[in-house]
Amino acid sequence: MSVMGLFFIFIFSVAMLWLARQGVFESPWLEEGEVTHRRRAAGTEPPPAAKVGLAIFLAVAGCLFSLLTAAFFMRGDAPDWQLPPIPGILWFNTFVLAASSVALQLALIAARRGEFERVKTALLIGAATAGLFLIGQIWAWRELLELRFFASSNAANAFFYLLTGTHALHLVGGLVALARTTDKVRGAGRVTRALTTSVELCAIYWHFLLFVWLLMFAMLIGWADGFGVVCRRLLS
Amino acid sequence: MSIAIVMVLVVAGSILFHVLSPWRATPIASNWGFIDDTMGLTFLVTGAGFVAVILFMAYCLYRFRHEPGRRAAYEPENQKLEAWLGIVTTIAVVILLAPGLLVWGQFITVPKDAMEIEAVGVQWNWSFRLAGVDHQLGSSDVRYIDTTNSLGLSPADPKGQDDLLVTSGELHLPLGKPVKVLLRSIDVLHDFYVPEIRAKMDLVPGIVTNFWFTPTKIGEYEILCAAYCGTGHPQMRGKMIIESEADFEKWQTAQQTFEQSRKSDASRDTRASAQ
């Protein structure tokens, strides 16, 4: 539950700061005429709708992963809890996913500079490494299943599959978006503004998934046990 | 226009219904009179709020109904009024909350001398366990459950051997002694619910929950299940009999211990196999 507490404090702080800047303390009946967000500096444009949409979606996905984490710690209190051994390939996967994230960031930098060919290459590398990560995850699942760590034999195993599975599904969704972006790149033949936005959104999403993965990985190895203990102490 | 009258009638009807209603809380049979008092206080405070708001509304509806030539006033807000209303509401909420939390504090503080008994729920009946001569309940686990050990007591635990098992669904308790009811379910969620004692608590499989009360009135009360537990939920009944200390002692001696039940079951089994 402390996880959810932290998550909400973050989300609500962002929301409140934003609201405060939107003039929610003003008296709307006192002013007539075409007023706008007065605090937006002249000349700046509002962010594209897709970017705002992604930000909101990340909040939703963040909420989902926070809830899973909270459930992980709450269920982890039970005496039968036994984390499965961590397949070594997960270290490799972590590296691959980080590389994927870096590739997309490079693609974004290239897009901003208008270097079309580099955007294309970087996107392809990003997609390939992400695909490799997914294959690696499946490999890890197979390895655990071969060692007879089934979802039904211990809830910790089940959480392993649930967490990695949910994360992988999000990445698959990201790959679909990335495929569409890559398609656009090929069609456009040069860097356009819409294209840069698409690349930027993919990069943000990738960084988010990398961040989630790092936390999740730490949890699965047991590094986060200390955090669980702190939570329990806070609650009791 | 007619709506203003109806609003008044709704308020009057509600009050009248409250006064005339034959459906009232059952006569209390435990120490939790404070709960009833808190509820009474809540009724007074909230009832006054309800009547005031709806009657004021009815007045407005009558007084400011549309008539030719009427034009509404323009008053975007009145911060002073809103602040006052906010303060009054906050005070009302504190009046409700403060005694409520105090009583809750008592509710979750079990007296040290409370007698521990255990109520076990299973689809769809109640069983009970009382401490034997050693005044201690033995440990239990779902793993131990079999045909001769329906409550899953640990066969190895010496504390459990003298525990009294009550499988008839009829629980006797002595008058005036605080009781801590340990609640254990071996299948799904149940809830130990006797309306007359006001307190209730869920039985959660996997953990042992508890609550406490002191019986204050001799009599026979029905135990219901108040957490939906499958198609037999309404049939899950038990009986709680509050009686004098002496009667309770007498009843207690007539109950079978865990040890005895094992033996009699075992002998029945041997007889059955001999036949």
Binding site: I11, A15, V24, P28, W29, L30, E32, V35, I56, A71, M74, R75, P79, S152, A155 | I3, M7, S14, W23, A25, T26, M39, T42, T46, V53, F64, H66, R71, A72, A73, Y74, E75, P76, T89, L96, L97, G100, F107, I145, G152, L183, D187, L189, D191, R198, D202, V204, P205, G206, I207, T209, E222, L224, A226, Y228, G230, T231, G232, H233, P234
Partner: protein, 588 residues
């Protein structure tokens, strides 16, 4: 998109974004079925929601008949009863109320009220509806599988919900969980749209504080829903895995009807936390749009600005934030750590303050007003009575110790039906009577509407007000039959019969509404563009019903707040939001 008539002396640039790329329909199919126009999607959402709502209404008759005449109706056995209870609850809360407020009113009103051409992601919006429809069909299909729908209660508490002692154990529960998962996926697509549209697609001059409270309510509800539904999502996925793969997320080791199960160590209380993490905000997801709509109905029909607009907005925000941290009040006697009781009781009762302030402001709006008793106004007033009544009983149940005797009794049933059943439904009716002229160009019949109101309002109050007293008496909920119970007098059975008779009558009386709804399509009096002489933007469209793209060639420009009613010095008793300020006009 520069409009020449706009004064150019305003320093900051316009807030409006580029026009949404509109997908223009090419065929009948893309115009009415796979349509990306939010207005069509709104009607699809509302139509589907009302259809399943009628199914849930019929199920409530099954429940009521059984409670009044236990055993007298041959086809109602314990399984059918519990299946009806479950489906009635789940459909009404999720598939009806949530869908109609956000998918129905949200889709129709948000773009029109903020001056947008459509939702910002029309394609995703269309997808949202179709996923919702599939979710609904999956749910209803559980009536046609062996074992029927699940009878686990709408809360779906494990272990009971996935064990054999509960009807619908075979397939019903699986279909229910799958359906909910689909619903949440579909809803998330819609919710993103509503939120981003409010954030990004407001027209020039439409600052946040110039949005009608309807938009505020729906916006806040959508944000909350986006954050709350993941709770249900996680709970459903994990429960589904427990049921199908035999994992032990929620399932402890247990012996069911003499048979030992393989589950070990799971926590049923964890499910309850996840469920109510969604379940309580859900109440406000339904209530906040109703709050918003009611504010607008009262203001328009009382010809007066909503009193304390700022306070109303702040209250919506405060309720939204607080409602995320009160879920534990559903679990006071669940066996969770009792110390949480203090925390949740305080947060729960704290929420009463902003809620009460909203009620005061609605009532104070009537002070010195010019009240027209139109059908929408009557429904709004009916909402006030039922909401205040249901709200104060919430103070009983939120105050942890008072909840102990009342939890799981009919008091709870009466409370939540009054506050999140009847009250929002009255608002839905009021809103339909109010916006029907904009949607169809014709008025609904006022006389039939008033008959409908009186039967529904008085009937519903007569159903649920007395029911509280059965709860105080101690009658538990979810009892298929009370049987012989010492503390229940015979008069309670009589009261149950009376309630059932009224419930059947009120249920059938809804046919008046449907008759009015369909008849007025053809025979209703032509409404014109703005029959209620309302100030907010949706009534100022160039066409009625609004055409594709809503606003014709130019987006409207907003010059004032949406509650400029009876402004001193103004020629009429309302000033539309987009009417340019007249020179020398007395500034309100």
């Amino acid at each position: 998109m520069t409009d020449a008539s706009v004064p150019q002396n305003v320093a900051p640039p316009p807030a409006e974004v580029e026009d949404v790329e509109l997908y223009h329909a090419h065929s009948w199919l893309t115009k009415y079925v796979f349509c990306q126009d939010a207005k069509v999607i709104a009607i699809q959402y509302a139509g589907t929601a009302i259809t399943v709502g009628v199914l849930a209404l019929v199920l409530s008759w099954v429940i009521r008949l059984q409670l009044a005449f236990p055993g007298a109706i041959p086809f109602i056995d314990a399984s059918v009863y519990y299946q009806s209870v479950t489906m009635h609850g789940m459909i009404m809360v999720v598939y009806m109320l949530t869908a109609i407020f956000l998918g129905g009113f949200g889709n129709y009103l948000i773009p029109l009220m903020v001056g947008a051409r459509d939702m910002v992601f029309p394609y995703v919006n269309m997808l949202s509806y179709w996923v919702y429809l599939i979710a609904t069909l999956v749910l209803v299909s559980s009536y046609f599988v062996p074992g029927g729908p699940t009878g686990a209660g709408w809360t779906l508490y494990p272990p009971q919900s996935i064990l054999t002692g509960t009807p619908g154990y075979d397939y019903g529960i699986i279909l229910m969980l799958v359906s909910l998962i689909l619903f949440i996926v579909g809803f998330t697509m819609g919710g993103l749209n509503y939120v981003v549209t409010v954030l990004q697609a407001r027209t020039r001059g439409m600052t946040l504080m110039r949005m009608p409270l309807t938009v505020w309510g729906i916006f806040a509800a959508a944000v909350m829903a986006l954050l709350a539904f993941p709770g249900l999502f996680v709970a459903c996925v994990m429960l589904l895995l427990d049921r199908t793969l035999g994992t032990s997320f929620f399932m402890p080791s247990l012996v069911e009807l003499g048979e030992r199960k393989d589950y070990v160590g799971g926590s049923p209380i964890l499910f309850q936390h996840l469920f109510w993490f969604f379940g309580h905000p859900e109440v406000y997801i339904v209530a906040l749009p109703a709050f918003g709509i009611v504010s607008d109905l009262i203001s328009v029909h009382a010809r007066k600005n909503i009193f304390g607009y700022r306070m109303m907005v702040w209250a919506i925000i405060a309720i939204g934030v607080l409602s995320m941290v009160v879920w534990g009040h559903h679990m006071y006697v669940s066996g969770m750590d009792p110390w949480f009781g203090f925390f949740f009781a305080v947060t729960t009762l704290a929420i009463a303050v902003p809620t009460a302030l909203k009620v005061y402001n609605w009532v104070l709006t009537l002070w010195h007003a010019d009240i027209h008793f139109t059908t929408p106004m009557l429904f709004a007033l009916g909402f006030l009575v039922t909401f205040v009544n249901g709200g104060i009983t919430g103070l009983y149940l939120g105050n942890v110790i008072v909840d102990v005797p009342l939890s799981a009794t009919l008091f709870v049933v009466a409370h939540f039906h009054m506050v999140m059943g009847i009250a929002p439904v009255l608002v839905i009716f009021g809103a339909i009577y109010h916006w029907y002229p904009k949607i169809t160009g014709r008025m609904m019949d006022e006389r039939l509407g008033k008959i409908h109101f009186w039967i529904t309002f008085l009937g519903a109050y007569a159903i649920f007000f007395p029911m509280h007293y059965l709860g105080v008496l101690g009658m538990p909920r979810r009892f298929y039959e009370m049987g012989e119970t010492a503390f229940v007098p015979a008069s309670a059975a009589t009261l149950n019969i009376v309630i059932t008779v009224i419930a059947l009558a009120v249920g059938f009386a809804q046919s008046i509404f449907f008759y009015n709804l369909f008849r007025s399509l053809k025979y209703g009096a032509p409404a014109g563009g703005n029959p209620w002489r309302a100030a907010s933007l949706e009534w100022q469209t160039p066409e009625t019903p609004p055409g594709h793209g809503n606003w014709g060639a130019h987006l409207p420009v907003v010059y004032r707040w949406p509650y400029a009613y009876s402004v001193p010095g103004a020629p009429e008793d309302y000033l539309p939001q987009n009417a340019p300020p007249m020179s020398g006009e007395h500034s309100p």
